[in-house]
């Protein structure tokens, strides 16, 4: 098996894993065992996996409140991830972050963020540290179309470009800012055009075509690693579900909710791989089975994990206990 084929199957597997994990999360969320709320990224798997496949294990990402896919694509351990979403002690953040603020330094996830646009300057800081320490790492900053209207987006793109920071800005444009459609908050057709204002390259790609995403990300990441500075990549994609799990989407037409499913990035990639004779029905089944087994192990781990102790309430408020 050549490397290329291997990598393509790995990418396909990661996409399916994200889809199945989020489907399972929605299922258990509906039963009330997960505290708070979750935001699923189903339909956007091509962006998370396409981008993260272009990264090294020690590269950094910062992700968003809709960040499950990005975390899984970057290689977070599924047990610690699901236990965190359950708010359990064995979660990757000791049960303090939940779905929305997961970080996993071991896999280079420096943090997802509950504040729209809040993570953009932080990602720039991660990239600054890499440049300062000359550690060869690249940071990918994920954010949404809505975040591109926050001041932090504009301040950060300007500064990152000015200082040639090793970062790629990835705008996942799913055409919805919470409950509001894109025509109500952005005049321009392509958010990537905003890059020109800050003197960096910007391109828009079909975010539901994983290979298009991968190619664009690879170029941007290589460019950043060579010290040539940041790139803004807009990945046009689709949000299949509501803003949060359980959102009845009364603000959205039933037709549109159906239509977006036609862009299924997994189906498209599967078809492509089948045409290339890389994937057959048997492979697909075995991938599905393996993923389901892994998810069930992780769910079981989460269910059996203890909750944090009230005595841990004061841990880690400060860098060192005084």
């Amino acid at each position: 098996m050549d490397t290329k084929k291997d990598e393509l199957i790995k990418m396909y597997t990661a996409m399916v894993k994200i889809r199945r994990v989020e489907e399972r999360l929605m299922e258990v969320f509906a039963t009330g065992v997960i505290p708070g709320f979750i935001h699923v990224s189903i339909g956007q798997e091509g962006v998370a996996v396409g981008v993260c496949s272009a990264l090294r294990k020690d590269d950094y990402i910062t992700n968003t409140h809709r960040g499950h896919g990005q975390a899984i694509a970057k290689g977070i351990d599924l047990k610690g991830f699901i236990a965190e979403i359950y708010g359990k002690r064995n979660g990757v953040c000791k049960g303090r972050s939940g779905s929305m603020h997961i970080a996993d330094k071991a896999s280079g996830i420096l943090g997802s963020n509950g504040i729209v646009g809040g993570g953009i300057p932080l990602a720039m800081g991660n990239a600054f540290a890499s440049q300062y320490l000359n550690d060869g790492r690249v940071t990918v900053c994920f954010f949404g179309d809505g975040a591109s209207n926050e001041g932090t987006f504009h301040e950060s793109l300007n500064l990152a470009s000015l200082w040639n920071l090793p970062i790629m800005f990835c705008c996942e444009n799913n055409e919805w800012a919470q409950f509001t459609p894109i025509e109500k908050y952005i005049r321009i057709e392509e958010i990537s055009k905003r890059a020109a204002a800050y003197g960096m390259p910007g391109i828009s790609v079909d975010g539901d075509d994983i290979l298009a995403v991968y190619d664009a990300a690879k170029k941007a990441v290589n460019r950043a690693r060579k010290g040539k500075g940041p790139t803004l990549i807009e990945c046009k994609t689709h949000r299949w579900f509501g803003h949060f799990a359980g959102d009845k989407q009364k603000y959205r037409s039933p037709e549109e909710i159906e239509i977006v499913r036609q862009y299924d990035p997994i189906q498209r990639f599967q078809k492509r791989l089948a045409e290339l004779n890389i994937l057959d029905e048997k492979d697909i089944d075995s991938i599905e089975q393996r993923i389901r087994w892994e998810i069930e192990q992780a769910v079981k781990f989460a269910e059996e994990s203890p909750s944090p102790e009230p005595s841990e309430l004061f841990d880690d408020v400060y860098g060192e206990e005084k």
Partner: protein
């Protein structure tokens, strides 16, 4: 031992910590080429180069956010926000990011960084360049708030703040930048959370911060003529607060006046007052009096009518001596 101005004591602390630790860098508007709006970073660009002394665009959120991300990835940034009033431009990065990361991510990332920012009226800088906003930040778990009053303290506390593994809001006072005081030549640090008795006395405890420490010392001289001996305590750090030094003093004097330059209402004086009542109300022989600025924006032209001063402190001391 030599005399050093407050602003130069800051520069010395920065220089020493940058020499000591390669991970320390300075970032902010005008900190490089011009040496800082108040000259705190003068000479650092020449000595340490552009890599470690970073002039930035006027983008406070990006500056602070960059520092937070860099700190989480292993560096030790020292940010300058030119006026404390401008902290309002980066509040999400300070409150939701910088203060939360250690806790929210289960201790995976520390955020060892300092934001230096000058507060205070006295330069006729008006309502948007003169505020003392320390209470806003002291209210946020995860932040430390430091407020030094002398050249000796500012140097020792800045060095400790840079070495601390938590984010620190380091509040200087513009009116103190020019004062001189004794600063030893050698290396020293002052631990965060340790107050100091600036003048001993037996009759009234006066807890004062930043510039008000000096106003309290002026008041102490005058009160001494009347035979009233006040004990002036400078907590030096607002959070963590040295409760012990305050409670011990009140135990001795039975009377407490709290003085700060910020508006009196909802300020740290209320916190200290409540703390003393909760911990040891029996030690008090008189109600606690707070001295602070009136509840208005800072006026451009009649600052002396606005700023708390020695006479206000003397009046407050008389009131607690009379049992009101």
């Amino acid at each position: 031992m030599g005399e050093l101005r407050y602003i130069r004591a800051i520069t010395e602390a920065l220089r020493e910590e940058m020499s000591r630790d390669e991970r320390v860098f300075v970032i902010g508007e005008d900190v490089g080429l011009s040496g800082g709006a108040f000259s705190a970073t003068r000479g650092l660009l020449e000595e340490f180069g552009e890599k470690r002394v970073r002039d930035t665009p006027i983008s406070e959120s990006a500056i602070v956010g960059l520092a937070v991300g860099a700190a989480a990835a292993g560096l030790r940034p020292v940010v300058e926000i030119m006026f404390m009033d401008f902290m309002t431009l980066c509040m999400d990065q300070v409150i939701n990011q910088m203060a939360k990361i250690s806790y929210m991510f289960g201790g995976q990332s520390k955020v060892p960084m300092v934001i230096r920012t000058p507060c205070g009226a006295g330069l006729n800088a008006g309502p948007q360049h003169s505020q003392c906003l320390e209470a806003l930040f002291a209210h946020i778990p995860g932040l430390r708030v430091v407020m030094p009053s002398t050249p000796y303290d500012v140097k020792g506390l800045l060095k400790s703040s840079i070495r601390d593994d938590s984010p620190v809001i380091f509040v200087e006072n513009k009116a103190l930048h020019a004062i001189s005081g004794e600063v030893p030549d050698g290396e020293y640090t002052i631990p965060l959370g340790k107050g100091e008795i600036k003048r001993e006395g037996k009759d009234v405890t006066v807890v004062a911060t930043s510039r008000m420490v000096h106003q309290s010392l002026v008041a102490a001289e005058e009160l001494e003529q009347e035979g009233i001996h006040i004990e002036v305590i400078d907590p030096r750090t607002i959070n963590p607060l040295d409760k012990g030094i305050i409670l011990t003093s009140v135990e001795k004097t039975s009377r407490l006046v709290i003085v700060h330059e910020a508006v009196k209402a909802f300020g740290i004086g209320a916190e200290i007052s409540a703390m003393v009542c909760e911990e040891n109300i029996d030690s008090l022989d008189a109600p606690i009096i707070r001295v602070g600025a009136p509840f208005t924006p800072i006026p451009f032209s009649v600052e002396n009518a606005y700023l708390p001063g020695a006479q206000d402190i003397i009046n407050a001391v008389h009131r607690v001596m009379d049992g009101i």
